[in-house]
């Protein structure tokens, strides 16, 4: 198992190089001089000043050299200086990343548990009105725009009913767990909706498939309670296809987190990316692209490792 994970990590290195190359090229082949973005334009820089900044940012070197140097520095966590506040990019990211990770992990856990429960319900009550309602809402939330659903939730639960706060991670100066939890109810639910909607369909069809099999009939015919049949015998096998799509849904989750953080004003990395647009903060944008890709790749490896847990027939060799 440990060797398998190590091999998967090694295999993902070319993928990460590919991603770094793509984002680096997108940003660095754009017309216009990044040095001008870095400088305060109101100070009327002379051509010599610009030349100086270009040298400082390494822009006077040829593109391949710049890429190699950039990768070398990125590997030790140096992503350069933000155009916006001239602070190291890594500092801003390490301030915001914990919030994004907390939001995503809570959403994933909440989402998968809910999805599994709803999927079981839909499968057990297959072709009943409960099943139809679940499948309608899952179609709705798989296809709905996250940011609009978030705004409508704010309209109903915060503005009209005045039950929950509209934005922020917590009230100012009050970091108690209850305060944070109250602030996170809406964002976590909204971010999890897509996974709930998508996964519950896979759980439903997976379970229906498994329930038709002989060993389930055997379990039933020896007089086991239906609950035992489903949770002890059928569920684990029905989760195999679910684990497959878990990894695939991660890029969408990261994208959803960007929108959710923006709507709810959460201090995460996604909102940092959106905030970097106006300043065209290239070093920040490249770093966020790369780090979110790293997170997706790691998540995929974890999902693959989970595969072996649900399906012991799978051998990692």
């Amino acid at each position: 198992m440990g060797r398998y994970i190590l091999r998967r990590i090694l295999q993902s290195i070319p993928v990460l190089f590919g991603i770094s190359l793509i984002t680096f090229l997108i940003v660095n082949t754009a017309p216009g001089d990044p040095a001008l973005l870095y400088m305060d334009r109101s100070s009327n820089p002379t051509p010599e000043d610009i030349q100086e900044v270009r040298r400082e940012l390494g822009l006077d070197k040829p593109l391949p050299v710049r890429y190699v140097e950039w990768v070398g520095r990125a590997m030790v966590g140096d992503f350069g200086t933000s155009f916006k506040d001239k602070r190291p990019v890594i500092d801003r990211i390490s301030e915001t990343l914990p919030y994004s990770i907390k939001l995503s992990v809570i959403s994933i856990l909440f989402g998968y548990v809910t999805a599994i429960l709803l999927g079981i319900l839909a499968a057990v009550k297959a072709n009943s009105w409960i099943d139809y309602i679940i499948s309608f809402f899952s179609a709705l939330f798989v296809s709905a725009p996250v940011f609009w659903v978030a705004l409508m939730a704010i309209l109903v639960f915060s503005v009209k009913l005045d039950l929950l706060p509209t934005s922020g991670w917590s009230d100012y100066g009050n970091e108690s767990i209850w305060n944070v939890a109250r602030h996170l109810i809406l964002p976590v639910t909204i971010l999890a909706l897509r996974d709930i909607a998508g996964m519950s369909r896979y759980v439903r069809s997976g379970l229906l498939e498994v329930l038709r099999q002989d060993y389930v009939r055997t379990a039933r015919s020896k007089g086991l309670q239906e609950r035992v049949v489903i949770f002890k015998h059928a569920l684990r096998n029905s989760l195999i296809p679910v684990v497959t799509v878990m990894g695939l849904s991660l890029p969408a989750l990261v994208g959803g987190a960007v929108l959710t953080e923006t709507v709810f004003g959460l201090p995460g990395m996604g909102r940092l990316a959106v905030g970097s647009i106006a300043n065209r903060d290239y070093p920040m944008l490249i770093a966020i692209n790369l780090l979110s890709a790293v997170m997706v790749v790691l998540g995929n490896i974890l999902a693959d490792a989970a595969y072996g847990w649900v399906d012991p027939r799978i051998r990692y060799n």
Partner: protein, 312 residues
Amino acid sequence: MAEPAKKIEQQKVDYSVTKSVESPLRIFWKRLRTHKPSMFSLVILFVILLLAVLAPYVTVFDPEKVDLSLKFAPPFTRSADGHIMLFGGDNLGRDVFTRAWYGARVSLMVGFLAEGLGIVLGAILGAISGYYGGWIDTLLMRIVDIFLSIPTLILLITVMAVYGPLVPKGGEKYLIVVVLGILGWQGTARLVRGEILSLKERDFVEAAKGLGARDRRIIFRHILPNVMAPIIVSVTLGVSGAILSEASLSYLGVGIQPPVPSWGNMIQSGQNYLRNAWWITAFPGAVLCLTTLALYMLGDGLREALDPRLKK
């Protein structure tokens, strides 16, 4: 000389037999017609498309004309010349209903064109990959792997932030089409490649090869038509995805720039007035949601109609 003539005649008989067999697309349509949610979605999509195309005839309001006397007018308010504002007025007194349908023109156009581009790229690259195999297949599939593990929205934001300010005003929709197309071919490529891998071993491809058909003819005339059905499914889901991406970008301020309306930037401009004028945000989003839901349910129905396991 008698034998070949016989063979030709036999072929003729075979031909008439195959003619009486229903084409796959026909069977497909027959099955789809019995799927109520899909037919309902088709009707909704048709209405939305019609309203978008006929927007200048559906409404008398100018989508970009500011009228501060109608600022935050609630739904069903009558304007000075007696026209009803079905969805109310926005923060600049413009008719939300009118803007929603002009916005639909932009959003639908971007969605269909971007997905169209993605499908063409995906079909060509997937066909090359599956048909030729070898190093070109390995290379293309590695690229697909890379793209599928990139969180696309963040990459899209980056591209639009970098290149958005460089395109002339009004040109951002074409930039979005190109970028979404380039970032949206991987799923199709993988699909087409898989289908081709199984199709290229089949007898009719061998026969075409035996008759001396060139690779391009085999791919485009013999293989791709057989992949059409799964492509149609992925198109409906892809258009829905492209519309959502455009809306997200416009919502974040890097997509379609105001005053030109798009569903995304209308929602963005309304969100600050949620407390007092919810309709600015709610209605464009509802139309957007209805569109993507209908596309999704249609795709779902299509997939079911295609599933060989459900054959009667």
